[in-house]
Structures are given as structure tokens and as C-alpha cells.
């Protein structure tokens, strides 16, 4: 499904060159639930950003089912990202001025989806995460766990092929974190959604199909 071919990422400032990733070769299969682990600064988030086409590698290629999106222009790449990838962030990254409904609707606005169809998909997504009764609430009116569930609903509303979750439970207590993890597992097992999750929590990582370990930008397993 997603193939990373000899990925290297170097961050260059005027004085310092930082190698964030080196010689990463990775293949994530369709329907797989993989977790990425490693100490702070090992390149986990960088790997996820490159995988999600939010950042470009310095060298190497990201291939989605035989297609190399890096060669696309901004319009096509944005559409590709919209169709293929859903993101879940550690800090939720909801837009505070919009209700839960409007936040979840966001990915659908960048497609040619009819208003009635959008409303239906948003309701379904919020029902899947158990927040159908909170769709008119603003993020400031939601708890951390609820915010993350809205973020998950936003990630899945467009039925993307892959969900990339960057420490989705990092800002939540263990109980809520467990709930979030269960939602992700359910999405993977029932909906066959491919998920790649960055986590510091070994217990959560062990619930996934595979653990990819990074150390100093290298893949060690």
C-alpha cells in the first residue's frame, strides 16, 4: 500500500545540518495496523509527515499503490492527500471557531461532495466515535478525549485508505487513551483501514500488527 524507498530527510539551517531520517525502507500493507516507536528525536514524526505527504524527503520516494505523489503539482497532491490520507494529531488540531460538525466536515469541503451527502457522512463519522450528540459543540466545550474523538471522526469521514496518527493518546490519560485506541482498533478490524501510529506507549504498540522502531533516524526493526 505505502512504500518508502530509501528515504532520507536532512534539515538544513545556516549553521547546522540535522539528519532526521536515513536509509528508511518500509512497506505498509493494506489493512495493516503498524506502530512507530523510538526515543525523542529519532525521527518518528518526520517519518509520519513524509508518509502523509506533508513534507518532502531530501532523498528517496514515497509510493502509494504504484503512484509517486511527490512528482505531482500542488493541486493534484492536495487532492491526493484529501482522498488517501486521514491525520490524527497529538494536540487534536481542531479549529476552535468551528463546531464539531464543521470540523469533521472539513475534508469533504475540499471535494466535490453535495451538501446533503456531506451532512450524512459527518453524522455517520460522529456516530462511529460516539459523539453524535455533541455535533454542535465547540472544541472549547469538549473534553480532551472528546476532542480526539472528533479528530478521529474528521480523519475517517472521507474514508481515506490510510490513517496516520501521531501520538493520538499522548495528551490523554490512560483511561481515555484506551478508549481512543479501541476506536482505532475497531476501525482497523471492522473497516479494514490501514493505520500507522506513532506512540511512546509500549502497551498500545503491542496491540498493533507490527512495531517499527527508529533510533537516530535509522530503522532498527
Amino acid at each position: 500500500m505505502i512504500e518508502l524507498v530509501d528515504i532520507e530527510k536532512v534539515f538544513q539551517t545556516k549553521t547546522i545540518e540535522t539528519v532526521a531520517l536515513k536509509e528508511i525502507r518500509l512497506n505498509v500493507k493494506k489493512g495493516e495496523f503498524a506502530s512507530v516507536m523510538g526515543p525523542s528525536g529519532s525521527g518518528k514524526s518526520t517519518l509520519l509527515n513524509i508518509m502523509g505527504l506533508l513534507d518532502n524527503p531530501t532523498r528517496g520516494d514515497v509510493v502509494y499503490d504504484g503512484t509517486s505523489p511527490a512528482k505531482m503539482g500542488d493541486e493534484k497532491l492536495s487532492q491526493f492527500r484529501n482522498q488517501k490520507v486521514g491525520f490524527i494529531f497529538q494536540s487534536f488540531h481542531l479549529i476552535n471557531d468551528l463546531t464539531a460538525f464543521d470540523n469533521v466536515e472539513l475534508p469533504l469541503l475540499y471535494r466535490k461532495t453535495k451538501s446533503s451527502e456531506r451532512k450524512k457522512l459527518v453524522r455517520e463519522a460522529l456516530e462511529k466515535v460516539g459523539l453524535a450528540n455533541r455535533m454542535d459543540h465547540y472544541p472549547s466545550q469538549l473534553s480532551g478525549g472528546q476532542k480526539q474523538r472528533v479528530a478521529i471522526a474528521r480523519a475517517i469521514v472521507g474514508s481515506p485508505e490510510v490513517i496516520l496518527a501521531d501520538e493520538p493518546t499522548g495528551n490523554l490519560d490512560s483511561g481515555i487513551g484506551e478508549e481512543i485506541m479501541n476506536i482505532l482498533i475497531r476501525l482497523n478490524t471492522q473497516e479494514k483501514t490501514t493505520i500507522v501510529m506513532v506512540t511512546h506507549d509500549e502497551s498500545l504498540a503491542l496491540k498493533t500488527h507490527r512495531i517499527i522502531r527508529l533510533f537516530d533516524g535509522h530503522q532498527v526493526s
Binding site: D74, L77, S78, N82, H93, D97, L98, L106, Y110
Partner: protein, 411 residues
């Protein structure tokens, strides 16, 4: 999508009320000034009042008279004789009128002193221009031929002199003579230079030998063309007619550069001292540059405010980009948001302009100067608002849209 943009726009406005106030204040004041100036422009150059059919009128504001022997020259209005021997010889015009420039006159109603602007005209004047008569009618061709002492006055003068507009047939003393009021008209704004006056008299009552064969004088000419389409032909005919003009005293003046112009051409030719050239292109360029300069300072201010707001919305930009918004989509969103705020500022500016125009008209701070707000001014207001929105929004929108996604999400 539009609903999402409108919700975000409204929330952004409320987020930092001080920034919003500064933005709206700058926009509305700038646009207020531009709208008032548009009203002045439209009032001066548009078809209003007695010049309802301005597009069918050509104006002759004297010319530049030269002495080929000693290279002396005189620029300005001309005598009645000059126009009588040129304009009245033309065949193409529908009608021609010869009228004086307005001059100050003092008359007394009892002990009450009234200072007014007087114009001498022929009878064609009332056919060429479309005055709104409140009472009575203009003086006739016969009145002019017989030099009858009759006048048409405007409403302000009628009220000042008689205390009422019911003054037909009454007399008013001007220059020691009694003149009978034939008609009372609505006031004309002073910036409508050719038809403007408070008191109108037949030129035959001027008390001077208007038919004296001389060049210099205080008269101007107006040509009414049959159809706007043959204005150029009429201009050409006037030019040809000038070639046949016999100078009464060639030792004094032997050559003339004079033109039948549209009102705007008269204005630019006199303003920019053009002899052969109207310099209308230069005038328009100067106006456009001045407007852009005037708008650029508040626009730059708004650019700065918008760029400051970029940091506040960096996370939102990152989220939208992550979920499929392209640079072009975001650029459009932010440009639309900026245009919405400038339209809002434009509405406020328009309302302020209405107040200012009302105050100008009501205060009499500029005597005999009236402004109106009509459709062209509303169109100008909308145009300036949109231009302002685009000028002040393009660069910040471009900066916002091109932000690196990862950096935006981290901020």
C-alpha cells in the same frame, strides 16, 4: 464551502476586536474620502442638472490667440464677436449657444445687500441646457433681440431678494436698472461651470458693445450636437471654420488655437495647459496614480495587520492543508475574507460619505456647491472597496497559503 468561509470570517473578526476596529476604521475612512471625491467627480463631469445630456455637448473655452509677428500670445475666454463669427457659421450642430463666464453682481432688496453670480446668455442657452424651472420660463429669442430687461433667477436668489419664489413679473434692481423676473430655477452647482449662475440676463442687456470686433472677452461657447456619434465631425468642422475666421486686427492677433471639447477635455486642457493636446491620458494617469498612492498607505497598514494575523491562524492553515486544501484554495479563501472585510468597511465608508455629503450640502461651506450620490458613485464605491480588498489581501493571502504545512501545524 462558502458557509465555512463566512463562519471563519466572522469568527476571525471577533477574535481580536482591536485589530478588527483598526482595520475597519482605516478602510472606512479611506473609502469615505474616495467616495466623496467620486461624488465630486461625478457631479463635475457626469450628466446632471442642466447638463443632463452632457454627452451631446461640446464646449469652446476661448483659445490661445497668437501674434505671429511678435510671438505674443493670450490664452483664455474670447469675445461674443469671436463666437458669433465661428460657432454660428457652423452647419453640423443642432444648436449653438454663446454665454458669458459668471461674474459677481451686487443688488439690494431694500437695505438688504445680495451678492450673486450673474451670467449673460443668448436664448439658445435655455435650449442647450435643461434647467428645472420651479416657476415661469426662460426669456425668449424676442427678449434677447429687443434687449428686454428680464432675468431668470435661481431659487436661493429669489428667496434672498423677494422672500419667496412667487416672484414672476416682479422687478429686481441690478446695476441701477429694473429687471423683470421671467422664471425661477432650481440651483445649479458651481462646479457645473458652463450653466452655473444665480442670475441670468440676455447678453444684449450687458450695456457693452458685445458686437465690437475684438478678440478678448469673457464669453464661452457651447455646441449641442445632433448625435453623440458625430461629435468628431463637429470638432473637425469647428477646426475648419477657424481657418476662415477673419481677425479684426491682425497686427494684434493673427492666429488662434481653439477647440470644441468635451467637458473633461476642457478641464484637462486648461489644467495641464495643453494647446494642441488635451492631455486627457496624462490626467487620467495622474488620477489613477494619486488614487493608488492614497489607497496604498492604508492598504499597507492592512497588509501589516493581516500578516500579524497569519501567526494566529498558522495552525488552522496547517490543518486545512493537511486535509486537502491546495495553495490556490487557501489563497482564494483568505482573499475572499479580506474582500468581505473591505466590503464591510466600504459600507461603513459609504454611510460616512453620505453624512459628509449631506453636511457639505447643508452647511454651505462651499457656496453654491452641491454633491449628489447616484448610481455611478455607488459603482465607484463598490469598485474601490474591491480594489482595496485585493490590494491589501493578495500578499498576506499568498504568504498564508504558502506556509510550510509542518511548520504551520507546529506553531
Amino acid at each position: 464551502m462558502i458557509k465555512n468561509y463566512l463562519i471563519t470570517f466572522w469568527k476571525v473578526l471577533q477574535r481580536n476586536k482591536f485589530f478588527t476596529f483598526v482595520s475597519l476604521f482605516g478602510i472606512s475612512i479611506t473609502l469615505m474620502v474616495l467616495i466623496v471625491l467620486s461624488a465630486v467627480y461625478d457631479s463635475t463631469f457626469g450628466s446632471h442638472g442642466p447638463e443632463k445630456n452632457k454627452e451631446n455637448l461640446l464646449y469652446v473655452f476661448g483659445g490661445t490667440f497668437r501674434n505671429d509677428k511678435n510671438n505674443s500670445r493670450m490664452r483664455g475666454s474670447a469675445s461674443y464677436y469671436f463666437y458669433d463669427q465661428t460657432l454660428r457659421k457652423m452647419k453640423l450642430p443642432e444648436r449653438v449657444s454663446i454665454l458669458s463666464l459668471p461674474s459677481s453682481v451686487t443688488c439690494y432688496s431694500g437695505d438688504h445687500k445680495i451678492t450673486a453670480m450673474r451670467k449673460y446668455t443668448d436664448a439658445d442657452f435655455w435650449e442647450v441646457f435643461s434647467f428645472d424651472f420651479i416657476k415661469g420660463k426662460p426669456y425668449s429669442f424676442q427678449d434677447v433681440d429687443l434687449a428686454n430687461k428680464v432675468v431668470v433667477v435661481d431659487r436661493t436668489t429669489a428667496l434672498q431678494y423677494f422672500g419667496t419664489t412667487e416672484c414672476l413679473g416682479k422687478t429686481m434692481k441690478i446695476d441701477g436698472f429694473d429687471f423683470t423676473v421671467r422664471g425661477v430655477i432650481k440651483e445649479t452647482s458651481i462646479n457645473q461651470t458652463f450653466p452655473f449662475a444665480n442670475i441670468y440676463q440676455p447678453f444684449t442687456t450687458a450695456g457693452t458693445d458685445y458686437l465690437e470686433k475684438r478678440i478678448n472677452g469673457s464669453f464661452v461657447g457651447v455646441i449641442q450636437v445632433k448625435d453623440r456619434a458625430n461629435r468628431d465631425d463637429v470638432k473637425a468642422e469647428y477646426h475648419k471654420t477657424l481657418q476662415t475666421f477673419q481677425f479684426p486686427n491682425p497686427d494684434e492677433w493673427s492666429n488662434v488655437a481653439s477647440f470644441a471639447d468635451s467637458y473633461l477635455e476642457v478641464f484637462t486642457r486648461n489644467l495641464l495647459r495643453g494647446e494642441e493636446n488635451t492631455h486627457i491620458g496624462l490626467f487620467i494617469l495622474i488620477i489613477v496614480v494619486l488614487i493608488l498612492l492614497f489607497m496604498s498607505f492604508p492598504a499597507l497598514n492592512l497588509v501589516n495587520i493581516n500578516i500579524t494575523r497569519i501567526l494566529e491562524r498558522a495552525s488552522e492553515i496547517g490543518i486545512r492543508r493537511s486535509y486537502g486544501a491546495s495553495v490556490k484554495t487557501l489563497l482564494m479563501q483568505f482573499l475572499i475574507e479580506n474582500i468581505l472585510i473591505t466590503l464591510l468597511g466600504g459600507i461603513i465608508g459609504f454611510l460616512l460619505a453620505l453624512i459628509v455629503i449631506y453636511l457639505i450640502n447643508a452647511s454651505g461651506i462651499f457656496p453654491f456647491f452641491f454633491l449628489t450620490v447616484n448610481f455611478p458613485v455607488i459603482v465607484y464605491a463598490l469598485f474601490f472597496s474591491l480594489l482595496f480588498g485585493i490590494l491589501s489581501g493578495v500578499y498576506p493571502a499568498y504568504r498564508m497559503a504558502r506556509m510550510n504545512i509542518v511548520d504551520a501545524l507546529k506553531s
